[in-house]
Symmetry: C2
């Protein structure tokens, strides 16, 4: 363990991870009397949550999202387990709620998941620029390509576009986005000068004339430059092409795995690729892991909470989510079947990985796996006092070279309040969490890098090459097409 007195300890990035759906990541826990997550369609719930998180100095709220339901479990094409248990279904649209949360806060960030597959880049660029303006630069975009057939079918596709091809399209999509967000307007294009009558200098706005394989977008962008221009970019690719995409585009990388060891190599590889292939400073890729802390004033209190949660959650809801995430329908296996011994290599490797991290679970039946998912999703549940949880988080940070955590909640907002009241003070005591935002009233990027003034993409980011800076003539500005 590092010396808690050491003044230069890395300050962690701490986000609250939620969905706009009952129970969010914790299937069935809307049944807990303290849980308020079934108010996911109530503006007052989100406004209050934003205030709670900002008071505790969370970096941001991260809203996961999908455009379809999970239909693998007891499937094929069976949404009933999700629908019945309220497991990420219904699921309302996250970008819509941000302005209300922004209006009552000044430094909290808002990272929203939006897929590149179901919305035209010109349309999404406008939505993102708008919200970055309205939040004064506190928007993050979690780039996903969408993976659910159930979503794809609703856009007229017979099934989801094949995985690697989605990334090929996403790659061009990002080019269009950078051109619109960074290259179409000069930083100082807007003059807003009543004297001269010039609102915007037309010589500082240009078409992007993107002509590509998948998109033809002449531009110009219909929005003037927002505080961050490009929102903070987040991504969670774990496949080969996903990692290459993250190495190029992501500023914050989400990792999810049962143990620090299981995510360490992904992180190291992505950072290495970012450096070698794209010339980026690997320290500019902030890696945060999804974990679910269950906190008590005593260890026994925490364990008791956890036991209650497991009882209240929904096994069917958990297995429905697992089906969607992995494509595996565990309904085909018996109640008592040891999943580490089944024929499917995919199932064996998943459960073996989890069993190493949770040696307390003796038999990995589908119900045991569901119990793991119920509390915070398919991520490590860390149970104990603030000291115990902080010790475990420190172990993760050291072994995986992490920069922070996305905390999912068992009970919303109670679990976040526990984190604020118990865990964050302990992390602060250890020098691992800031006393206040690096830049109060600043952008999400400034606060995520803890670099005042870093509102836009860092210079080594591939998107920065498109940036049309103040004072630069159009002819000398970076290529826009």
């Amino acid at each position: 363990m590092a010396n808690p007195e050491e003044p230069s300890r890395k300050k962690l990035i701490i986000n609250a991870a939620v969905l706009m759906s009952p129970s969010g990541f914790s299937p069935g826990l809307w049944r807990n009397p303290a849980d308020q997550s079934s108010r996911f369609d109530d503006l007052k719930f989100w406004v209050k949550l934003a205030q709670t998180l900002e008071a505790a100095k969370f970096h941001g709220i991260f809203i996961a999202d999908a455009l379809g339901g999970y239909e693998i479990y007891k499937g094929p094409h069976n949404l009933d387990p999700c629908i019945l248990t309220g497991s990420q279904f219904p699921n309302i649209e996250p970008l819509s709620v941000i302005s209300a949360m922004a209006a009552v806060t000044e430094s909290l960030g808002f990272s929203v998941t939006v897929a590149t597959t179901f919305e035209h880049p010109y349309h999404l660029a406008r939505r993102l620029s708008t919200v970055d303006h309205l939040t004064q630069g506190r928007l993050g975009w979690n780039i996903v390509t969408g993976y659910l057939d159930s979503a794809a079918r609703n856009f007229g596709l017979t099934k989801q576009v094949e995985h690697d091809q989605r990334y090929v399209i996403a790659e061009e999509y990002m080019q269009v986005m950078y051109k619109l967000l960074e290259s179409s307007w000069r930083d100082d294009a807007v003059r807003n000068s009543p004297q001269s009558g010039i609102f915007t200098d037309p010589s500082c706005v240009r078409e992007i004339n993107h002509v590509g394989e998948h998109f033809n977008v002449p531009g110009p962008h219909i929005c003037h430059p927002s505080p961050q221009r490009t929102p903070l970019l987040l991504q969670a690719g774990a496949s080969k092409v996903g990692k290459a995409f993250a190495a190029q585009h992501a500023e914050v990388i989400f990792v999810s795995g049962p143990s620090p060891g299981a995510v360490a190599s992904n992180i190291a590889e992505t950072r290495q690729l970012a450096q070698e292939k794209f010339g980026r400073d690997p320290a500019h890729l902030k890696c945060v892991a999804l974990v679910c802390p269950v906190l008590g004033r005593t260890e026994e209190e925490a364990q008791e909470k956890h036991r209650e949660y497991v009882k209240q959650g929904s096994v069917d809801g958990a297995l429905a989510l697992f089906g969607g995430w992995t494509g595996i329908d565990l309904s085909k296996y018996g109640e008592d079947e040891e999943l580490r011994e089944v024929e499917s290599n995919a199932i064996k490797s998943i459960t073996e990985a989890w069993s190493k991290s949770f040696p307390g679970v003796k038999k990995w039946t589908k119900t045991a796996l569901a119990h793991q998912i119920i509390v915070g999703g398919l991520c490590p549940t860390i149970i104990g006092t603030a000291e115990q949880v902080a010790d475990e988080l420190e172990r993760w940070v050291e072994l995986a070279n992490l920069d922070g955590f996305n905390f999912s909640a068992a009970i919303n907002p109670e679990s976040f309040i526990d984190i604020a009241e118990m865990l964050l003070p302990e992390l602060r005591r250890r020098g691992l969490f800031w006393d206040d935002y690096a830049v109060k009233g600043g952008t999400l990027r400034e606060n995520s890098y803890a670099i005042p003034g870093q509102k836009g993409l860092p210079a080594d980011h591939p998107g920065a090459q498109y940036h049309w800076k103040a004072g630069v003539e159009a002819a000398d500005a970076p290529v826009s097409n």
Copy 2:
């Protein structure tokens, strides 16, 4: 003039019409020292405006929108006049700001313009349901098909889809929307029952299996029923197919013309069509006209304000907007040319219609036309004391059988504050405006019809046939495909 004491006088619908753009409808008036419209990207501006409008009991705020700039004037393909003068360019995305305004109000409605041409219905249905939830049923959707080539090109089209064909596609689009919003979930599908563990009864959620010419959408809708299910539907069709569309779908119809006589026949024809062809009660089509009042404590004060506005506004900005709206490039005509005498029949008929309503303007040059547009857009400017303006509004209501007005602002928010402080008290004195919302904390539909309990589409609306009511078995529910 009707007797002001008459108790049963029709109460008017009053909306504030804006854009998320400098000056909104009044090109160049961001130059006025009192004008705050260049804060269109500032959340605090919108939050304050919503509070101001609700305190004055406006029915709602109406946000116009377009996805491209105006490029006809001094064209072709020339955005510079718009860009330079800040005339509806930049223009940020309106649905994003609604939740912030909803969080500080309880009865004010929010009507937002969204095109059917540039976003998939499954995606838009989700965005609309989400905002209808977050506002507790205070959302209106102004259905447009999009008309600007500059927008269409950014979605990969070489130019905008031909006018009538856009309405054919929009017709199918509406079917998909009704199926998702009205037919996919039963009113009482969500149980949220911790005892039984049932969040949603799966037998009350169904696919819509829409297979059509332009869209294939199996569903189900990913959002549970919002308070209004379908947002209040607004439309502004004036062409033959546009009127047929409005007669079928619109609950609120926007009209825009220089005089009551010029809009009366449109209103009468649309209502007649609604009754004869679609079996709707013509009183269920609420017609509101766009007008811009310029108010003073004395007539001279009002006239002086108006003279100032005309001086401060932008002729080029006005002619750029005119170009976009009509497709006519007036830069081709001389400064002194009388537009009623030019060869173009389109220009002649527009200016002749305006000249009848404004006999004070002796010569209709392009500058004279621009001066008309500068104050509130291509709509009648009504200048005078509250009494004078109210008299003129009464004349409009009677001659055109109107239900209310969309007020555009010369100066935002000052013009709306003038309306609140001078005009609305006068209308109230005449029994033409309510003392308070018909349903405090109610839905936009309840307050627009002034019928408590009318949260959903009226029974005679074509969309109502899709409504899956509480307690009805799936087999007996209206056809979903």
